[in-house]
Symmetry: D2
Subunit: 325 residues, 4 copies
């Protein structure tokens, strides 16, 4: 079918390409000429403005947004609302907050437009392997887009699903990413424990400020994380795609020296915990995973200083300047 | 090669069978006659006592223990130490605490025996798919057993590895299981958030004891967990074997009515957190996963009562008897 | 000075009484006749409607709301906005979400009204001991109310402060309560560990589903929580008012049999964690304290079932029905 | 009564002084001449060796150790075991692991010696205010020392207690310190949230790597932590001695610039979590408090790098080098 793709970055361009390969007619829009050229290069069409894009598509139109969440998505929806005709459908394939999705769907419905939210997972691997898609919206609007989902997905009926009314796609994707944070942190913590299993072989000062290591003899291992993660990839209970990626990264760079450990977070992890709290549902693992990222960026600084100040206050403890076990 | 298998339960019998299929001569020992009969049924031999088992194996012998950790493993090692000859090898394929493994290896070394620890993952699926094995021990002792590992593993050189000196196999398996706890909890928490996404559609009392739900309109989804986990299985970032199992369980029993949610823990999760603390390594996710299991078994009871008593003390708050959001 | 008190429940009536004792003229409004009679009994006046209340106060008026957060506060502010005159001041002394406070202050400013938010701590003890108050608002509006704060507070210049612009009083009180949750949970967890220190003396089954207790000989204490908390009240680092309350509760009911452990939460703990996440600040302790309350009310149920289902899936594990260590 | 004090550091010297003031005869031992001179200066006696100390005390002797936990305590107990006579009592007033205490009590009992463990809280304030003491040991041995405890405590019958058999004093003190970690972290996290409440007024980049702040208008406060903690000290639910110390530290150094935030931990926090896990009791708050300290010392480094490596693997995400929200 014919589809407009708005936003031809890393994700949008790959999705356009997978659709073109699958026989669809894609018109791509992006303000960057080189992005448009890319799409034309693999057989799509392009437009230099939203107006042109809308003009080039037959009604009822289908316009897929693949742009950053927040202001840019908001602005695009507003612009489209002015340009589109009743019966047209806007699809938000990005990582929007589902609450915004709900509000936007309500706003465009007044103009007779349909709104479909598609939580999209798969990252840079989606072009080759297909995207996992969680779709929210009215039944008819989603059904009309079925050919698109069947092409983008890993298999015709696999890896995508219509999970509920509008907003539920982004809600489900949000929780998906929250889970992803938790999975990642579980591997990260475990590997850190393996990485430091040799602490008993190191020399440590004995003083009243440092916990003595009772069982130094039990912590004298020098483990190879790349080997271990490779072993785990087959037959173990912890096999996963994230483990595959980790094993590959460790094989290429055994101590991950290329990284500083300043870990970003991009919204869904936060929103998942917000949702857990609103629902009154405990989410200690997902929260801990999120907080670890905050801490990696130094956001615990004042809390740490307060702790040191208290210790000085009640015990006269002086901070050790070097890093200690 | 020839191998004695001690303990023919769920795990031991399957491993014996996979070895026999792979051309090895296995003599199995278990106090239960039906377990021995099973092994003879698929082409192995059996012994009715440890003494007979030792007699039936050529030197240098290889004896693989697949028995519960703790007292039973300890007793078996003690008995074998009396029966075996210098140069023989004891393999502990069970879930022993690696600290015990280190202590036992030291003890049997005085008798000229070798000790190899093999952390074994794969559960009931190992017979067909192969077991993931993390092996610790001296190089020569491990190399002599290579044919056994190559048969038990998912592939000749895949899914198993010699990770370090004795104890390192169980240490690595311990952390593997700690990670497993974290992964499981990440999925569990996320699915719970999905399961309760309809809370805004429910009726709630307004009183000073209950947090009002600000945004009830955003929590009106009735999501199908079986559908969603099925979607995630292909192309998403959270694909894993644990997700496959979860999707299958939900497909068969959408609300998991067959379960009470009384979740056991069997040692490694605890030991992983003990190790993290000894190493001075933060493990908030793995700890939270462990504590969730404790809580599921009612082990937070006195803490909860203390909280209610405090609330009554400072605010005159009375406990609500019904479960609330 | 003259003050209208709206809401004569547990908190409002006590505050009115402390003000009357301090020489202020208080007119109280509450729909319940017995609440109004109470206020008249200790020397205040009363009004049977908001209209009457507003009529009885000289301009510029000061109206202190002490009503449940959420819809009731919202409705009261709306009604007052219609009734009041430019220059009058509305004080919200309740536990409103500071975001709502900011929005309300903006709305009433258009009518020339002042809005002051006062986060109030002290519970049922405030009448005798004074209330701790965190006040937000414009300087002039707060200064005009100084006589009221000085009377309500534990000391003239102690226990209250003008912490910033409107909303900052409720923001600070919110974080205060978040900290309170964390403090309470710290005591609760510690006392639970003391309460179960005799587990090594109990008989436990040995099976593959249960972690063996390595060091049973170290867990044979039968500790008296009432005695211990009483000891801690003087000279220790953990002395606090919350500890005092806990010791008193345990002295009266050593095993807290009067409580079921179904712990409510009333908003501020949730909002504190929401704020931490919005700010990108790690709050693992405050979150854990909040989640413990959710879990105490059974809100982890589906997560627990998912864990059991996974364990059945990969290991054939069957749930133990009885509660276990 | 007569008492030998072994170890005349910050704690031991102060305790000796409080005892001398209370009319007891104290003989102090410490290898440092200046420490012995100090004790003689306030009216105690001193000894230059353990031998001399033992000689100077009448039988049955009472020897109070106030030395670092671990090797030094172990060595002192061993030396005393050789020097003392049946009926003498060794008191460990330090922060020993209660498991070691149990083992040591057993060892010295064979020589007819008594062993009493005293968990001591109060820090540098104990000299003036008295020490909170949790005492474990046989009834008779503890009773004989009653005059000592009554002098050291804040009040004759207040702030100390005989909590159970040997080891229970250190066990209780261990949990006391675990709670202390939790309380400290609760304040620290809350104050960090207050400290960063102005994030909405800062300028932030908009990119796909950074979570957009939805509600920037709600985070524009510039709060004074010293003022706020001072307000909380009177009448609020969070009053405590730790809050007093915090308020004083913030009054002296409003941004705690004197501290780097490299927070030590000295054993009891770790042991408390070990105990919780052994008992199967959830301790999420106490664990989070402990982990925060580990993280403050950079011990999460490899975990953070693993997270960044995974993000690069699935999404092509590049680490941001500057610290971000």
């Amino acid at each position: 079918m014919e589809l407009g793709m708005i936003g031809l970055g890393k994700m949008g361009a790959n999705m356009a390409q997978r659709l073109v390969r699958g026989g669809h007619d894609v018109v791509g829009f992006d303000p960057k000429p080189e992005a448009r050229a890319l799409v034309e290069g693999f057989g799509g069409k392009s437009a230099t403005s939203l107006e042109e894009l809308v003009d080039k598509l037959p009604t009822p139109r289908a316009l897929w947004m693949m742009v950053p969440a927040g202001d840019i998505t908001a602005g695009t929806v507003e612009a489209l609302t002015e340009l589109l005709s009743p019966g047209d459908t806007i699809i938000d394939g990005g990582n929007s907050n589902y609450k915004h999705t709900l509000d936007r769907a309500k706003a465009v419905a007044d103009k007779g437009l349909h709104y479909v939210d598609c939580g999209t997972s798969g990252g840079v691997w989606g072009l080759a392997e297909g995207y996992s898609m969680m779709v929210g919206g009215e039944k008819d609007a989603v059904e009309r887009l079925r050919p698109v989902f069947e092409t983008l997905a890993p298999g015709k009926d696999q890896g995508w699903g219509h999970v509920g009314p509008v907003g539920s796609g982004h809600f489900t994707k949000m929780v998906h990413n929250g889970i992803e944070y938790g999975l990642m942190a579980a591997y990260a913590e475990g590997l850190n424990i393996l990485a430091k299993a040799g602490i008993g072989a190191e020399q440590h000062d004995t003083d009243a400020e440092t916990a003595p290591l009772d069982d130094a003899r039990y912590y004298r291992y020098d483990l190879d994380l790349a080997d271990i993660t490779e072993v785990w990839r087959r037959g173990s209970v912890v096999t996963s795609w994230l483990l595959d990626l980790t094993a590959e990264a460790l094989a290429a760079d055994p101590h991950l020296d290329a990284y500083t450990g300043n870990v970003s977070d991009s919204g869904e992890g936060r929103w998942t915990v917000h949702a857990a709290i609103d629902e009154g549902v405990p989410a200690p693992v997902l929260s801990a995973a999120l907080y670890q990222r905050f801490s990696s960026r130094g956001r615990s600084d004042m809390a740490d200083k307060v702790l040191s100040a208290m210790r000085a206050g009640f015990g006269g403890h002086v901070e050790r300047t070097e890093s200690s076990r």
